[in-house]
Subunit: 503 residues, 2 copies
């Protein structure tokens, strides 16, 4: 999707920084960075104007590409002294605009921090720089039979630093946890230029859990320069169960039943019929096209464990009304089962001019209700929606299909998306499962959190960054913004979110 | 141990609050609490003068025992307005003095918050009040085949609120995680009296991870009023492997080898010969008394999983030089294997007038080195030490045996303990694994964290509690205190921690 809309207004973003003296900032940065580490010409800045959420674009004042931690310290000290915003960036694959540059700020790319410092098979850890790609860690650990478990779809390209900033998940996070559950220690530089380390090789560390706090903080608290991750033994075997259902509600309930039976599969994904149809045409995975929904349920471990778990999964799925069950017979068939699921986003791109990927999370037991509500919204907004879910952890990725060249469709898609997110909150879930808040979901944070909770976030932010220079305007809406957001909806003379009244 | 020593001095603790007007505070509290919810007579206060770390004692100004969240809000508003310290308390079983009262403060007991609000087998969660006992959650969930996994030794008595405050662990936390990994959501009251909720039923939540931040914060950020925990299916089978070693270093290395082989046992505990001898005499578990160390390694799951894992564990232990391996043949024998381990603390109490339990954590691969260093310290300090470890996660519980009635032994025991903790840090570990910092380990925090890191903690604290009223003087040492601590050691004319120079 290449359409541009206005970046959501945010007081902390739009105010205060227009007085930044561009020439003075460039001169100060040039004094601490090598020539190849500072860019300020329009054509050099252009590649950094957006991340994976390309509907919002903004070129920064300058791009800094430090080679060393000492240079990061100097850049941050300059920004702190001169009052200049700093937006840290990994690989720029984020989907919520978390790395969107600031017009008056420095885009601090960690791309050159791409060194794997150590891989220690004995402690089953790897220490890496933040610009290392997610998959590169697993590649480096493979010789020891180990891998790094969290696997966001972008794992070929996304950086581990960005994974920490967004607390990234992936298909396997149901069993193996999010990024925060797989990172043992981070080293970071504060906006004042102090070097700090939190966490360690032990299971717990004393003091406040700043390690966890940095996860998902979207570059707003500190700039990470080194990360120690936990490595996981590669399972001896993985096998995938594909189940078809003649009803989406039944499929949603089957997901809850699997988990309620005490099974934690390595992955538990769901696709509805429009999604299955779109990907089948694209990758020919052999999916049952008459099914209203399919589930993919992966089991991994020793052969004995897998055999035992697959038998139990089959039993639960049958009891939940599956109309067809197939178990992958070999690694080739397993990969074919997954090929369709992994092609869902490009498949949406093939059948629709544009699509808008949502990322709400709901309690598993509400999956059926949410699917019904989305079907109602399709009718009301006059737009189709393909549903692809990390069903096991209740993380939804509805793909709203639209054509930005048809007047009104973009706006309808945005409202459709907002309604899904706000319903997620009403059902006891959240506005983001793994893509982060960034600029995209900043309004919905007002629905998710009350004023005291948002005030807590602001105070935490101020504890690290009193001047508000680290990634201003992202993730945490200003109190004023939420007042306006609420007001706007009441002003239109109707209940903004009639769905919310139903539950 | 019932000996008393001086509570470590701490500027934030000892200053500022002497001007609190006792009569005015009592009058204000009496206006918002029922008569049975406020105590201020010496004999009523006495039972609250210490927690499980009984060497430090202090009666509070008053004890508040609210029945409702609204009363908690009122108590906190009064304390905020009048500048009165507040120390929250669960069951008082903590081992680091985290719930030690403040002389000029209110001891806020959550004992009446003892209601299990809901147990939901479908979402596998329970929502409970903070005063509910850890084991009571598992008892309530048992009918659904579920339990609450973290199992601190005190689980019969300790409260889930205290577990969150200290981020409690237990024998099974190696496989099932610490408290922070098993809590989905908390509801809390800020010192201003605002009600906030963080986390939720989804796997992740947007915004800063305040849920994690509250874990281990020792009541210094907010007062928790409701907790939603994750429930875990009860395994079908558990089996325990007992292995004997003729050398403690070999046993330590065997622990690292088990984990490095990709096995995550349900529990992996180690005891050295003095510990084995002490408990054998007490509970007659049939432990091999000629072994220099024994390991207990538990496997749980389906019968197939357990059989497969036990076989692999046996293989690794044999390769690591175990001189004898026994596998529990039935549930009765499994419980006997564990009975000795669980009796280690009372057994120490039987053979020694006093003992001091340490709680450092080190990387597993350094276990052998640490055991050797502790043996050296026994000679230097002239005190015996029994070693009982949550070996799988590198969490040490050395029990230093001494007699407080012998002049100098208490001081030697304290120095012995400090040296263990500081060596833990030098080996890449931490000063506490699961008992918290409280007042006990506040000096060692100066060794663990640099000035910028400690400044970060202070700012986080101020973000929640600008006046520093919530549990002042615990967990986070003042910068001034660390300066004094460092100075004191240099002043004695020698390197304070010669061990630190070795590694």
């Amino acid at each position: 999707m290449t359409t541009m809309t206005d970046v959501p207004a945010n007081a902390a973003r739009d105010a205060d920084f227009s007085a930044v003296d561009r020439a003075a900032v460039l001169a100060a940065l040039a004094a601490v960075l090598p020539a190849h580490g500072l860019m300020h010409e329009e054509e050099d800045l252009r590649p950094y104007e957006c991340d994976g959420l390309s509907i919002y674009r903004q070129v920064p004042l300058a791009v800094a590409l430090p080679d060393t931690e000492a240079q990061v310290v100097e850049v941050l000290r300059i920004c702190q002294t001169m009052g200049v915003p700093v937006v840290a960036r990994g690989s720029g694959t984020g989907l919520s605009g978390g790395a969107l540059p600031h017009a008056h700020g420095v885009l601090l790319s960690l791309a050159r921090f791409n060194r794997i410092v150590t891989v220690d098979p004995r402690s089953r850890t790897a220490t890496v720089q933040p610009g290392v790609r997610n998959l590169a860690i697993s590649e480096a650990a493979a010789v020891h039979g180990l891998y790094y478990a969290p696997d966001p779809s972008s794992q070929i390209a996304c950086s581990i630093g960005g994974n920490v900033a967004e607390n990234a998940g992936g298909v396997h996070c149901l069993k193996y946890g999010l990024t925060v559950h797989n990172v043992l220690r981070v080293r970071a530089v504060t906006i004042e230029g102090d070097i700090v380390e939190f966490g360690g090789l032990g299971l717990d560390a004393p003091g406040y859990d700043v390690l966890a706090l940095l996860h998902g903080s979207e570059g707003m608290l500190a700039v990470i320069t080194e990360i120690t991750v936990k490595l996981t033994p590669k399972p001896l075997l993985a096998q995938c169960v594909l189940a078809a259902f003649d009803d989406v509600i039944k499929a949603g309930d089957a997901v809850a039943a699997v988990i309620a039976a005490g099974i934690i599969p390595a992955g538990l994904e769901m696709m509805d019929q429009p999604a299955t149809a779109a990907v089948e045409e694209f990758v020919h995975a052999g999916y049952p096209l008459d099914a209203k929904a399919i589930l993919l349920c992966e089991s991994d471990g020793t052969p004995e464990e897998v055999a035992e778990e697959v038998a139990r999964v089959r039993q639960v799925l049958e009891a939940s009304g599956a109309t067809e069950i197939r178990v992958s017979r070999d690694e080739g068939e397993r990969l074919v089962f997954w090929a369709g699921r992994k092609a869902a986003f490009p498949a949406a791109g093939r059948i629709s001019a544009d699509y808008y990927c949502m990322d709400g999370t709901i309690p598993r037991k509400r999956l059926g209700e949410m699917l019904q509500a989305i079907a109602d919204m399709e009718t009301r907004y006059g737009l189709r929606c393909m549903n692809v879910f990390h069903a096991g952890d209740g993380n939804l990725h509805p793909l709203i299909l639209f054509d930005a060249n048809v007047p009104g469709e973009l706006e309808r898609a945005e409202h459709f998306g907002s309604e899904i997110l706000e319903l997620s909150v009403a059902l006891g879930g959240t506005v983001t499962g793994e893509h982060g808040v960034g600029v995209e979901k900043i309004n919905q944070m007002c629905v998710q959190f009350n004023e005291a909770e948002r005030a807590t976030f602001f105070r935490v932010k101020a504890a690290f960054d009193p001047k508000g220079l680290l990634n201003p305007g992202k993730a945490i809406p200003t109190l004023n913004r939420c007042a306006e957001f609420g007001h706007m909806h009441v002003h239109q003379g109707q209940l903004a979110h009639p769905e919310l009244e139903r539950f």
